[in-house]
Amino acid sequence: MRRRAFVRGVGAYTPLGETWRETAERLAAGETAIRPITAFDATGFPCTVAAAMPVQLPDEDRRLPYARIAAREAWQMAGVAGEPARLGVFVGAESGRGRFATVLGLARAARSRAGGGFDHARFGRQARGFAAQIDESITSPSAVASGLAAEYGARGPVETISLACASGSAAIVEAVRAIRLGQCDVAVCGGVGADVDPLMIAGFGLLGILSERGVSCPFDVHRDGFVVGEGAAILVIAAERGDAACEIAGIGRSLDGHHLTAPDPDGDGAARAMTAALRDAGIAEVGYVQAHGTSTPLNDRIEIAAIRRALGAGVARAHVSSSKGALGHWVAGAGALGALYAWEAVARGRVLPTAGLTAPDPACDVDHVIGGAIAKHVPAALANAFAFGGANSCLVLTRCA
């Protein structure tokens, strides 16, 4: 008989609160965290708003501090104990970034005097100085998982999933598999995003995928791109139920194998991941779908088509919402935040709304949650995460029988 993965604790650190409980209350009221960027001068940038933390932490890299705060809430709620060898850590994260001053120092020292390009020989001559400036504990994607493992004394599997916007969801998938396979009994899992910085805003802007209007409104007829957000969402899952109200009963993954940025126009890859997760959970219907819902014109429309295909007639009984209207796109943390929305629906019977959505696009015709949260008994929920590059990851959360 397959081991089950019960959700024992959840935690988050978001621009709307230092805990998931606080965040959820504000989300339920329809609040949004999207504001003009104040952490740096965003004049001239492709997008000048973000869902950023109201208080800047002193740490140079924000990923681990965010994740630590979220993990503490989840760990405290879980109330689990066990031997370190049976505790695993699974985190979705991308590389960290340092100060521009450091980057500028490298650029100056490595820039060819003649041509202006990267001068390997010059870099080589000055590399000792750079070596002292570079800290793997800040830049490495694995720094977050390693830091959490050290904090909780985890000696079981410690994994970092770098799957762009699906990283957080895929990390939870890995944790569920590790529980099922008996590789660990308890897992701290989730994702973190800290991309409200000049380079990432610039990078996403260059790709033309940010909202020029500075509005995140998934599924709205006026949507024109996403808004970057940041935060961490962590779950503690365990093989023992304890007092858990719900479990992660289904996991599904797929690749579009289609295009680096654009989704499969038929939504085939997304639908296959959803179907796989539903099949894994042994169910055909859900009462709620936490959509990836980025607020980009193409993605939202295709995702809704994929949801309709995966749920069939059951789509009529499912509410749909997206976290990105209120909290922006957390990139590597987005899938884990989506899992918390699904948990809120299943465990607490509260379906959180899509902030920013006022005029639903007819091409995205489903039962949206608009304005504020609704109370609903949700036996099962689906949480989607779809990444640049076409990697898709889906979770099904169900109420414990």
């Binding site: 004049t43 001239g44 492709p46 890299d61 060898a85 590389s95 960290g96 970034r97 340092g98 100060r99 521009f100 450091t102 980057v103 500028l104 490298l106 650029a107 490595a110 390009g117 990267f118 870099f123 080589g124 590399a127 000792r128 070596a131 002292a132 400036q133 570079i134 793997e136 504990s137 800040i138 830049t139 490495s140 994607p141 694995s142 390693s146 830091g147 493992a149 599997p157 410690v158 970092t160 999933i161 770098s162 799957l163 762009a164 000049p198 610039a202 260059l206 790709l207 993954r253 797929s254 690749l255 579009d256 194998g257 295009h259 680096l260 796989a276 990444a387 590059g389 076409g390 990697a391």
Partner: protein, 416 residues
């Protein structure tokens, strides 16, 4: 992990060249290695501009594997890959920053106004680690379950474990597992050099990553890449010492045809390579897997019998080896292939093998250099080569990367 899965194809790119056959034999014989070959162009030029070096290696290797293994339905094939920190073109970063200077200093406003325009707009794609997996998947039309696991060693073994269980759980009929990475990007080279200087040779890097509060930190992170340390004036890349005996760097050259980002460096390491130093390199290696019962005997190259990872955090390396080997359920190996990240670790692993598998042939893959996420997978295909050649019946492959964890994989020529 005790589920036996058939290996029905393999591919590799390494300092041995392109291809996996003969790799194990060459390492066992201590043969000279020609170096990482120049790779053929892939896809459209625009696509190539979006590839980091790791993505290029992975996509090239995947193409070779798909052709060799004749995967019938790539749209449902799983793909699980150990990946490194994706390195972008430093020329782009420098161009971006150079246009962002005003009044002798960096100006965010100028960065927004002019710096962005000076940069290759596709730079962002070079920086995403998952694109090491996705580029190849798109080119080959792979559509099954997948994961890109960041790896400085053990993550690549985790990718194999995932692939095996994806097949065993019938998530997919076929899966591809392996690793691809380059340690030759200047920034990663600097990172690794710093790690080398900061910690004792055998201490896992996680100890450094656990944020010692007493350690002052600054960061560089726009582009993660790879580092080389050598004091040889001849210009070849590799670890060594300068004239004063201090760790120093030599340039890597951006000259290989079709190279993206930083080109491979084929020159052998120069200078005195001390026991604890790593030899930066690059490569990719993949295995094509499917359920044993679904595999005609003629297609089966070998079997994955077991795989496991053990944490190296806060304990002697050999203890982690013991745990990983026990969990991988090793019985009767006559070949041990080791993938150590440096010579001191190699000595530890060889010592363990001598004490615990005394009659086995021990093959050290150090000559391939430290290819980070690719190194464990290169050791798998080296072992497979020796199994297929009849040099052994069962191989234990030990991967010990800079993350300090140990990955153990048991491969056999035939099912037990």
């Amino acid at each position: 992990m005790t589920v036996a899965i058939a290996i029905v194809g393999a591919a590799a790119i390494s300092r041995h060249g392109a291809g996996w056959r003969g790799l194990g034999e060459a390492l066992a014989a201590g043969a000279a290695l020609p170096g990482v070959p120049a790779l053929a162009p892939l896809g459209q030029p625009k696509v190539q501009k979006m590839m980091s070096r790791g993505a290029y290696l992975a996509a090239s290797c995947l193409g070779a594997l798909v052709r060799e293994a004749r995967i019938a339905s790539p749209s449902s094939c799983g793909y699980f890959l150990g990946v490194g920190a994706s390195g972008g073109s430093l020329d782009d970063v420098i161009a971006l920053l150079a246009e962002s200077i005003a009044g002798g200093g960096f100006s965010l406003a100028r960065f927004g106004d002019r710096g962005l325009g000076a940069c290759n707009p596709l730079l962002a794609f070079q920086l995403m680690n998952n694109f090491t997996l996705c580029h190849g998947a798109i080119l080959e039309g792979l559509g099954g379950p997948n994961a890109a696991l960041f790896s400085r060693g053990a993550g690549t073994t985790a990718a194999l474990i995932e692939a095996v269980h994806a097949i065993a759980d019938q998530d997919c009929a076929h899966a591809i597992a392996g690793g691809a990475d380059s340690a030759l990007h200047p920034v990663t080279l600097a990172e690794l050099a710093r790690e080398r200087e900061r910690r004792p040779a055998l201490a896992p890097s996680r100890a450094a990553q656990a944020r010692d509060a007493s350690s002052p930190r600054t960061a560089l992170g726009v582009v993660e890449g790879h580092a080389s340390a050598s004091g040889d004036a001849g210009g070849s890349a590799g670890p060594g010492r300068d004239q004063s005996g201090r760790l120093a760097f030599t340039p890597t050259e951006d000259t290989a045809p079709g190279a993206i980002g930083v080109a491979p460096t084929n020159a052998a390491p120069s200078g005195v390579v001390e026991e604890s130093e790593l030899v930066p390199s690059e490569g990719a290696a993949l295995l094509a897997l499917q359920a044993l019962e679904e595999s005609p005997n003629t297609d089966v190259l070998g079997v994955v019998e077991g795989s496991a990872i053990a944490s190296g955090l806060g304990r002697p390396l050999v203890e982690a080896v013991e745990e990983a080997v026990t969990r991988a359920v090793l019985t009767g190996a006559d070949l041990v292939v080791i993938a150590p990240w440096c010579r001191a670790v190699a000595a530890e692993l060889r010592g363990w093998a001598h004490d615990n598998v005394p009659d086995a042939l021990v093959v050290d893959t150090s000559a391939l250099g430290e290819a980070l996420a690719a190194s464990p997978a290169l050791a798998w295909v080296a072992a497979l080569d020796l199994l297929v050649a009849g040099r052994a019946r069962r191989a234990l492959v030990l991967g010990a990367g800079t993350d300090g964890d140990i990955g153990a994989v048991v491969l056999a020529r035939e099912p037990a």
